[in-house]
Amino acid sequence: MGNVSERIDYTKAFKLVEQYEEYRLRKSWGIMMLIVGISITYIRLIWIFYDWLAYFIDESFLIWYVFVPISYLLMFGTIIFPLTLAIITYFSTKRTIIEGNMISSKRYILYGIALFLLYFNSYWLPRILLPLIWVLFFPQSIVTEDNTIVFDVSSLIQTEANSMLWKGLSFLISYLLLSRIVKRIKFKELLVPGVILILLSGILIILGSSTAPPLTDTLERQISSVNTIIMAISFLGSGFYSIKKAYKSLEGRD
């Protein structure tokens, strides 16, 4: 007769597989959030501080070694970058399903979709598509000054508010999609920034619709910088939290 402590606990063994899969999902999600967060923040900061950089660094150097690579990233990155991330993570995470005597596995398709939406909605939709739509429906927001086309004050604030609102919605959509994959995990790291971003966008919309102050370059840069900082905190904070929770899952402390 085998010792009681030497008996195989099959339920526990399957629980360990579940724990390991949870760890892999959370870790790869966290790493991808950090990659997406860093890349979007980098692109935004270069756009915001381009003229400052041009003041300190030789402009031809800046164009060839900073601006051109970023343009390529903008062109190819729109679809390929988030898609690659989504595919990599799709293949690196899977879920084991036990039905009767059969052990099978399933890939997290919703995971890839969530990551793609988060990236696309967080940058490209608010920065490029929505302003285009805005201009199409509200042409009066374009003011021409000395042959230069500029947006009026409220529409610029609206653009930033839109950007924040879409980011917030993306976080919430990702939260809903990921919560459907693993029902036990509560993705608070997506829910909290989602709600905060939506609330902040609401405040910004109210400010934008009130009496518009004269918008200087500095003020415009400040608004964009604050938006970038909030976005960076949301992505990086969420990424680090997800990785921390991954290790807790692995230790079985979650």
């Binding site: 030497e6 195989i8 063994a13 360990l16 597989v17 390991y20 899977k94 596995s105 692995l250 230790e251």
Partner: protein
């Protein structure tokens, strides 16, 4: 009566054969989860496995050596920028043996039922 007795003895003998034919190496509370994880995920890092099973490095290594001795797994050193990590990978023989083991186990359970 004799026929019934013979049939009973044959049934018991069948069960005993089945139990005896089971892979002893896998009847272990540590090696079974290791093989199950490797069967479902093909490979895992040593450090991850150690945290998951809550074992000391020496204890885990002892079990891994047994599995490696039977050619069920292979250990591979993977170099990362700052450190190296040991990757545990299941072999084809390991996969087949685990599959066979699970199959026999399921047969026994069905016969018990």
């Amino acid at each position: 009566m004799t026929f019934n007795g013979q049939e009973k003895r044959k049934k018991i003998s069948d069960k005993t054969d089945l139990i005896l034919s089971i892979n002893n190496l896998l009847i272990s509370p540590v090696r079974f989860p290791i093989m199950l994880i490797l069967f479902t995920h093909k490979k895992i890092r040593f450090s991850e496995l150690q945290t998951l099973l809550n074992l000391s490095a020496g204890n885990l290594d002892h079990h891994l050596r047994k599995l490696e001795g039977a050619a069920y797994i292979v250990k591979k050193r993977v170099l990362f920028p700052k450190r190296s990590q040991t990757m545990i990978i299941i072999t084809e023989l390991g996969r087949n043996s685990f599959k066979e083991f699970s199959h026999k186990l399921s047969n026994i359970l069905n016969k018990v039922e």
